[in-house]
């Protein structure tokens, strides 16, 4: 063997030993051998060293996470690493897409890593679905908030505003931002909670409250706000953790109500004045008739005038009661009839001193028209008893009762234990003006009359309160 070949073989042997030691030797650098087989061996060893050098660089770069490293072409030593390199580059791209929110990625062919990674992706997709559902709910809630033209404020238990819709923010533009302020600061420009705060009452009772309060800010077209306060209840725990304030601009309604109330008060004053004047006029007429009676010498004519005077006084009493009452259209029938009865007893005192009176009249309020008719009926019946029932008798008794028999239905009962109506005297028979008037006024209030003549006279009148009937 030539010495050059021997040196080359030694060199190749050293190179193989170095490779086995994990080192990368230098190449044979143009061997000078003439032996064909040795030259081919030298070229193969150089090729192997070069392939290992490329593989070493590629694998080290891959191990360092440098995925942009060049893949050595036609190098079979790194074939599995090329697959890994490709998988890692793809995984990097997939992760970039995931970071952008594209969660439709799916990792395959990386064994357990794929399984765990895909489980994480599914978890992220589920989270995203939940977030999207929450976002959709939030969007819907915001749209509802924004769409409602009335004001909505949500406060926590410390009265701090946590949410307010655009409508209320517009109303209270001088206090914006509303969120973060106490409701009494934002709505009432106060530094401390309001007296009788409806929110505090709602928190204490756990029930909705409602109140109307003024908007005091100058220049605001809104002057009155109707506030409904509802508890904000946690559906899971059932605890109240805040309140919803629903605010409605009622300025127009409130102003209309105020005008209506003012108008009503004005009408009440006018009505009271009218009742007062009517009563006075009746009293004047009554006084004139009394004076006139004093000039008559004929006792029969004087008695007739006295009866007329009694009737006018009965009517005057109605207007006196209306004038004195808070209710300008209904009369307390017990006070009214008792007044009339006592007045008649006093009016005919020369004939009534030996007559005892028993009244049991229910304290109901009846319409003024019904009351007037009843007043005139009772005037006639009591006057009749006083004047005719107890002639030549040392004592007598008159009973008056009025009671409800059904809703809006009443029964007036009068009786005396006198001589009784003469057999030829009938209601509507024409002989007695008083009884004719009783019949006429009974018809006016659509009453039925029943007359009994056993041991005196008993008259039962059943009627409905016409005003109540009309209202029904």
């Amino acid at each position: 063997m030539r010495s050059a070949d021997r040196r080359l073989l030694r060199k190749l042997s050293e190179m193989m030993s170095a490779l086995l030691e994990g080192e990368l030797p230098t190449s044979t650098s143009r061997p000078t051998t003439r032996t064909k087989e040795l030259l081919e061996l030298s070229q193969s060893v150089d090729g192997l060293v070069e392939s290992l050098r490329q593989a070493n660089g590629f694998i080290n770069a891959l191990a360092a996470g440098n995925l942009d490293t060049e893949v050595p072409p036609r190098n079979f030593l790194v074939s599995p690493f090329k697959s890994l390199h490709s998988s890692l580059r793809h995984l990097t791209w997939q992760t970039e897409q995931i970071a952008k929110g594209h969660l439709t990625q799916q990792v395959d062919f990386l064994g357990d890593f794929s399984r765990v990674y895909n489980a994480m992706l599914e978890s992220m997709r589920e989270k995203k679905r939940v977030e999207e559902a929450l976002h959709e709910n939030e969007r819907l809630l915001s749209n509802v908030f924004a769409g409602i033209r009335d004001g909505i404020i949500v406060i926590d238990k410390e009265s701090t505003i946590v949410r307010a819709n655009p409508a209320v923010a517009d109303w209270y533009s001088d206090s914006t931002p509303l969120v973060g302020k106490k409701c009494y600061q934002a709505l009432h420009n106060r530094s401390t909670p309001c007296e009788g705060c409806p929110c505090s009452i709602m928190f204490e009772r756990g029930e909705p409250t409602q109140s109307i309060f003024p908007r005091t800010y100058k220049g605001s077209p809104i002057q009155w706000i109707d506030r409904h306060t509802f508890p904000l209840i946690d559906r899971d725990t059932g605890e109240t953790h805040g309140a919803i304030l629903y605010l409605r601009d009622v300025t127009e309604r409130k102003n209309a109500e105020d005008q209506l109330m003012a108008s009503l008060r004005e009408k009440e004053v006018l009505m009271r004045e009218i009742h007062h004047r009517v009563k006075n006029n009746f009293q004047v007429v009554s006084g004139i008739i009394a004076l006139q009676a004093g000039y008559l010498e004929d006792a029969q004519w004087a008695a007739l005038l006295k009866d007329t005077e009694a009737r006018i006084r009965a009517m005057a009493y109605v207007y006196e009661k209306l004038y004195e009452s808070d209710d300008l259209s209904n009369v307390n029938i017990r006070e009214y009839l008792t007044n009339i009865i006592l007045d008649i007893m006093a009016f005919y005192s020369e004939r009534s001193t030996h007559i005892s009176l028993s009244t049991d009249i229910e304290g109901v309020s009846l319409d003024v028209d019904t009351a007037v008719s009843l007043g005139l009926i009772i005037t006639e019946l009591i006057t009749n008893s006083i004047r005719h029932a107890f002639v030549d008798r040392s004592e007598g008794k008159i009973v008056v009762r009025l009671q409800g028999t059904a809703p809006d239905e009443y029964e007036l009962f009068t009786s005396d234990n006198g001589s009784g109506l003469p057999p030829d005297v009938e209601l509507g028979g024409g002989r007695s003006l008083g009884l004719n008037l009783v019949l006429a006024f009974s018809k006016k209030i659509e009453a039925t009359i029943q007359v009994e003549r056993s041991g005196g006279t008993q008259i039962t009148i059943k009627f409905r309160d016409t005003a109540a009937g009309a209202q029904a």
């Binding site: 072409p73 036609r74 697959s83 490709s86 799916q106």
Partner: protein, 176 residues
């Protein structure tokens, strides 16, 4: 089967026929080697007739037509770009064509680096020292072109047949 005499033949998706009806027993699948038998014998005949460059170009053109029809008939083109790529990946896997992976994607420039593992055309071939996935180049160009509405150029830079374990493709829109 279209008539070979019909020189005006234009491929339509329906020409694939009703495989379910036609192959009730054998089904839609066949052995990969049969597919390769068809492709490489065809390649030899065309190469012999028209030369290597022309043969490669014809395979690219056929792949592009296939990719375009594939996209129109099997893919959802309403998806966003990255979702569309995942969709293509899933579809190619389901049809056992190959395991597509995206190594890089510039969504603004529409420049991509894609790899296909276990490729239908080449994985497992003996090392020939050159890339052979001309049909795949066209297929990817057809899919991307139909999705984006722009013509694409796809070049295979690594191939199993050239000594790599994966086929790597660089894709970009054709310069106007």
């Amino acid at each position: 089967m279209p008539s070979e005499k019909n020189r005006g033949y234009r491929f339509q998706w329906k020409d694939l026929g009703d495989i379910e009806e036609g192959r009730p027993n054998l089904g839609a699948s066949m052995n990969v080697s049969v597919y390769r038998l068809l492709q490489y014998t065809l390649r030899e005949v065309i190469t012999a007739e028209l030369g290597s460059d022309k043969a490669r170009q014809l395979f690219v053109d056929a792949g592009k037509l296939a990719g375009s029809e594939f996209c129109r008939n099997l893919l959802n083109t309403d998806l966003r770009f990255s979702e569309f790529l995942s969709h293509v990946q899933s579809k190619l896997k389901d049809l056992n064509i190959g395991i597509l992976r995206v190594e890089k994607a510039d969504e603004e420039k529409l420049e991509l680096v894609l790899t296909v593992m276990e490729d239908l055309d080449c994985s497992g071939l003996p090392v020939l020292g050159e890339t052979v996935c001309d049909y795949d180049e066209g297929l990817l160009a057809g899919i991307l072109g139909t999705y984006t509405g722009r013509e694409f150029v796809v070049k295979e830079v690594d191939c199993w047949a050239s000594g790599s374990r994966v086929c790597r493709f660089e894709a970009r829109p054709k310069e106007r």
